[in-house]
Every structure is written in C-alpha cells, then in structure tokens.
Symmetry: C2
Subunit: 408 residues, 2 copies
C-alpha cells in the first residue's frame, strides 16, 4: 500500500479502510497494545503490525510507555503522536465562549474564556476567536500550519455537512456565514467542524463523561431554551436535516402560553429559564413571596432562574413550587422521548440545571410517572458531572475524529 | 486465508471482516459487478477478486447474467447463490400469521396465511408454524438442514438478543418462551431471529419499500395499539432495552381516558382502533348518526374501526369527525417525534390506516401544525404502499442479514 505518501496529503487525511479502523479504535479506546487492537478490529496480528508500522512511519502513531500486564511481559502500547498536529476547540454560548488548543491525544494545552454578545454577529466574534487562537499558538510555539482542525459548538441549528448555521433565532447575522472560509487563509491545513452546542455536549459526555458506558443516551440542556443532544449506537444522531433533538418546541400544554416560534404551549415557553423567571417575577409583584420580592428588587426587576434557585434554597415555598412545576413538566415531555427512544441515560445540563435538587427530582418524577416501566427499568437520570466542560471536550473530540477520513 | 473451511461451520457463518463487508454490500444493493463492489467497499480490484473467489468457492456467491453496460463490454455481476440455503419468514399478528419460505436472494418460493388466536399460547402456534414449514419444504423438495434462518415478527415487546418475548400484554403464555430451542431439533442449522412486528415492517420498507431511499424514517402501525418502527442511519433502532418506538403510550391528553397500562390519556387509549370503535358505538347508541347505527346493528354491537371507515366513506358526518379527530391527535403526538428525531419519511400502516383519506390528511395536519418548519421542510408523510407484505418482507430481509456474521 502506498499509504505513507497519501497521508501527507492535506487534511482530512485519507486513510485506507483498515488504517481508518485502527485510528477510530485508538480514538475511542485510548492507547492500546497491538494485541488489543487485533482483538478489537478482528484483523490478524501480522496485519496489525503492518498497519501500525505504516501509521508510525507517517508520524501519526507512536509507541509509548508500557501497557497493563496481564501476567507476562508488559506489552508496549500504541497511541497518537501528540505533536503530529493540534486542534482548536470552541464552546460558544449566547454570552461568552471557551476556547482551547489541544494536542492529538485531546490533552488541552491552554484555554481561555471570553464574554461576548453573540448577537454582535459572525465577523467580529470569529475575529476575536482568530486573534486569541494565534496568541495561544505563539505562547505554545505552535505554527498555524500544524492546526489540523477546529471544532466549534454554537447555540443554534447547524447544517453539519456545510459547516454553517441555519437560520439561528438568537444569532442574527450568522445565518449561512462561511465560517470555514474565514479560517482558511490563516490555517490552511485545518478542517472546520461546526455543530450545535448540545450535540457537542453530548459528544463530550460520550468521549469523557458519564456517556462513555452508554450506547444510547440524551443530553438535555436547560437554559434560555431547551435542547437535546442524541447519541444513538455510540454516535451523535443529527436527523435528516440536522434539527434532531429540538425538544423545546414539543407541545407540553395545549392551553399553554404562546411561544416565540408561533406555536402554543411549547415546553420552552413553559419551563425554560425565562419562563421560570417570569413566573417568579409575577409572584414577587403580586406579593406572594417576600423572598422572591427581595431578589426581584436586588436585581432591579431583571430576575433570572438563578435568583429563583436561590430563593428555593432559602426555603421559599413559591420558588420551590415554580422549580418543581417546571421540572415536572420537562419530565412529562421527556417521558415521551423515553417511550420513543428508550435511552439508558439522560443527562441534565445547562445553566438552569443547577437551581436546586428539587429540579432534578421533579424531572425524574415527571419521566417515571409518564413512561412505561419497560422503558425506565434500566434508565439512569442525572445531572451532568462535566457540564461546564462538556461542550469544549466534545468539540475537541469531534474535531479529532474528523481529521482522518476513510478513503472510499 | 483459510476462509472456505470456516464457511462450512454452522450458521451464523463466520466471515472475516472484508468478506462480511462484501456480503453486506450485496445484501443491501442486490447483484453487483466486481468494479461496483470495489467502488462501494473501498477495497482494491485485486482484493475484491480474491474475496469473491473465496466466497464463490464456498458456494455462497455465484456469477450470473450480465450487468448494465456503461458503454463497453457488459460486466458479469455477482449475486448470492439462491440454492445455497433457504430461510423461513413469519409475520404474526393477534389473529393470524403469514408464513413464507424464501431463497438466498429473498425471493419468496411459497407462502401461506393462517388464522390464529395468538392468546392460545406459544406451543400450539409454534407447532402450527412448524408443521406448515415442513409441508412447504416437502413440496419444494428442500431438506430442513438447508434452512439457515427463521425471521419471526411478533405483536409484542421482544428481547432481540435473547430471541424471546418480554412480558407481552396481548400474548400471555409467550413470555420468555424459548422460541429458538423449539425449532432447533428439526432445523439444526437455523438461527432464529425474533423481532417486534413494527420493527419487521420498518425493515421491510427499508429492504423493498419507500424506505429504501431514506436513512432516517418511522413506520407507524395503527391497529389495536399504536407502535412505531424506527430506522436510524439505515438500520433498525431498538433502544437500550428493545422497547424503542412505543409511541402508543405517550400522553396525548392529560385529561384523557384511563389506559390499560395504568396511565391517563395515552395516545392508544384515545386514537387506536378500539377507541375509534368505542366513540362510534356511543354515537350510534345516542342516535347521533343513522349510518353508524346501521353498522352497529349489522355487526351485532361489535363495531370496529373498519365500520367507522365505511360510514365515513358514505359521507357520515359523525364518522368523519371521529376519523379526523383521531388522525389529528396521532399527528400531534408524532409532531413531538418529528421535532426530536427529524426523520425524512413517516409511513403509516396497520389495519386502521385504511379508514379513509381524511385519516392520513388529519395525521399530516396534526404533524405539520405542531412541529417546527425546519423539521418538516423535507418530510414526506404517506401510507405504506407495501403495508400488507412489509412484515413478511422485513422478516425475510432481517433473517438473511443475520445468517452471516463478522468474525471478531
């Protein structure tokens, strides 16, 4: 096979199917001995030796340290050569982004956070990403040519194949903006992977969180909106046009309030952050809770779900009622997805997920009451343990997965 | 590779990964030239020649006829050798089953239908299947040793890996019954694949129906219950414990009637066949429709959805209202799955799907009103064109897919 030469082609590096299988295997499992790779891929030991040698000659893999012994001599393990190249991971929210540069084993070398208003539009914010990336690369003495991928999570619907946003409601000015082209001149060797923020978070849980041991799970982000990343058979599921997981606009109450999407009673309009804050503000103004009134005044009438959580923690009855109702109705809607999708794990994340233990237990209760025992017998429902970092870890993992692609 | 000898091992025939890839490719695409196989699998032309020769020597593949020419000499195409072995496909419903014997290219050689009451239990009904299979094999001069797989669709929840039913509500006496062991003595070489009936129907649409061109679609069966087969990335998705697709018990109306499952307002309790018949019977008894009254008396008070469909076709206003309401509420619930799963196709099948055009158009209207434009822009919603045969075709296709398995 003339694969070494092919590997020097620009990214995504094309690999022959057997080479791609080994790379994917190491990406998923971490460093492995040749024997383990043979066991997992089904190829013979001699084929593995040939393939690993090719990939080592190409500078992609290296032998390192010693693996765990199963009795005899400790086997040498194979991993990615960490300085083969580098990637940039970005987790963008409505009001700020996290940015990190990572090596080829997904180790974060340096990270920064920056407050933004995503409504300022694509060019200024991408410009800021660009500048910060170059600053990190200079400090780390890495040439921009060695950046082989960007993984960028954004808070809006994405056309994954095209790498553009698709009419994002909270990101006017980003619609169809050519993010890939923006980075091309400075980073000629980088592929640019753009995905929805919840998909990136689900990817992060899959790579390094509670999702590692689950084939089929949901990551539900509750914040200004409510969205859901879906992992099916160990991979992100994006649906036919990339809009899968939009649970925020499932009708939760036919007699509910009007949603900004034009429909009535959407889950988001009843139980996301702004709805929780709105109910609490009403209670404060109506004099139904002294504690909520205190917070309402403290924040100058700009109440958020965070204040409601604080009031609930102080034992305020009305705040706790709001938290409980919101969690329960989210659970009711998720019960439908449990019946339909039969996941083994639901992870709750996002800014509103921290407004008290009552919130999680009400979500649980809504799910368990409204789904079939057959679907919930082995279902775990929990908050995300890596919530703050899930998006960044996922962006890094997804970018790395896409640096190599299988020749067809 | 010593693969020819390995192929003579009992089924599922173990194939090395590259051989398995060729078999899967021919299974999905039908007969192909060597060049086409090379293009699709990514292997070199010479590797393909070696692999195809091995599989031909083992009697699994054969060269046949001529492929379509793209200008020059017509290429020879490779297909399964139809007499390498045979499979038995079964589509079982609550009141009858279809049974067929097919060759290795999924051509049905002979089929029979038989009325049953599935509540009679596993042993007598499997005994009937057994006897009818042997009769067909005798007429077709096929030895039972040449049966390499059974594919059996059943109307209940299935533990797919174990091949048993899992507490099926309408099939008492089938719970955990060892279906595989039942066939082992007479058919020593047959693997037995058991799956839920809607999964088999979705599989049939994927193999030979409208689903062939869709990666992500739903097959919704509306009959005594309401269930849904899910195809994700070109494969049946069963969920973590095999219960995925249970849309019949999603809550459609919090103030709705009690369901037999113990919850309130399940879709099935409002809009499946019995609910439709119940509403029509009430209207007939209350004197609100002369036409429904006529049908009510004709069937001795044992109204079904079929009579409601007939009354609707005769222009009865009340019957049409019932059909419309039921379709619309099914659409409302499916809208949630459209937001969540973002399929490109929804196929409607099952006995109740034929109760009038109004039914399909109301389902469509319920879906389109309650889901986001981004999810429905490219969504097709239609009745299944192969509805009567989808289950049998799917059982044959799934059985054939499982005869060969990849060595690990």
């Amino acid at each position: 096979m003339d694969s070494v030469r092919e590997l020097i082609s620009p990214p995504p590096f094309l690999l022959q199917p057997p080479q791609a299988k080994i790379v994917a295997c190491l990406r998923r499992q971490g460093p492995l001995s040749r024997t383990d790779i043979a066991d997992i891929t089904g190829y013979s030991r001699s084929t593995i030796t040939t393939l690993v040698n090719e990939l080592t000659d190409a500078g992609i893999l290296e032998e390192m340290g010693d693996g765990e012994s199963s009795g005899g001599r400790r086997p040498r393990v194979v991993s990615f050569r960490s300085d083969f190249g580098y990637i940039v991971a970005v987790d963008m929210g409505a009001t700020g982004f996290d940015l990190a540069v990572a090596d080829f084993n997904a180790v974060l070398l340096e990270r920064v956070s920056m407050p933004i208003d995503v409504r300022d539009g694509a060019a200024p914010i991408l410009g800021m990403l660009h500048r910060l990336t170059l600053e990190i690369l200079e400090r780390q003495a890495i040439s921009p040519e060695k950046i082989y991928a960007f993984g960028i999570g954004v808070p809006g619907p994405v056309d994954f194949a095209a790498g553009i946003l698709n009419a994002p409601p909270i990101m006017p000015g980003w619609d169809a903006y050519p993010i890939r082209a923006f980075f091309r001149s400075t980073f000629p060797n980088a592929i640019v992977i753009v995905d929805n923020d919840v998909n990136m978070m689900a990817q992060g849980e899959l790579a390094a969180g509670a999702g590692r041991k689950h084939e089929n799970f949901l990551f539900v982000k509750i914040g200004t909106g409510i969205g859901c990343g879906i992992v099916a058979r160990g991979e992100i599921y994006r649906g036919s046009t990339g809009s899968a997981g939009d649970v925020g606009h499932i009708c939760a109450d036919r007699n509910g309030p009007m949603c900004h999407c034009g429909n009535v009673g959407c889950l988001e309009a009843i139980a996301a952050g702004p709805a929780i804050a709105h109910r609490a503000s009403e209670a404060a103004l109506a004099g139904r809770s002294a504690i909520l009134k205190k917070y309402y005044e403290q924040c100058g009438g700009q109440m958020t779900a965070v204040e409601v959580g604080r009031a609930a923690a102080e034992g305020d009855k009305v705040a706790n009622e709001i938290v409980r109702d919101s969690g329960y109705i989210i659970g009711e809607v998720l019960a439908g997805q449990v019946n339909f999708f039969n996941p083994s794990l639901i992870l709750i994340g996002g800014g509103v997920s921290n407004i008290g233990l009552m919130f999680l237990s009400s979500i649980r209760s809504g799910i368990l009451t409204h789904s079939l025992p057959l679907s919930t017998r082995h279902l775990r429902i929990d908050t995300s343990a890596i919530a703050q970092d899930a998006g960044l870890i996922g962006a890094a993992a997804l970018a790395l997965t896409n640096v190599f692609s299988e020749e067809r």
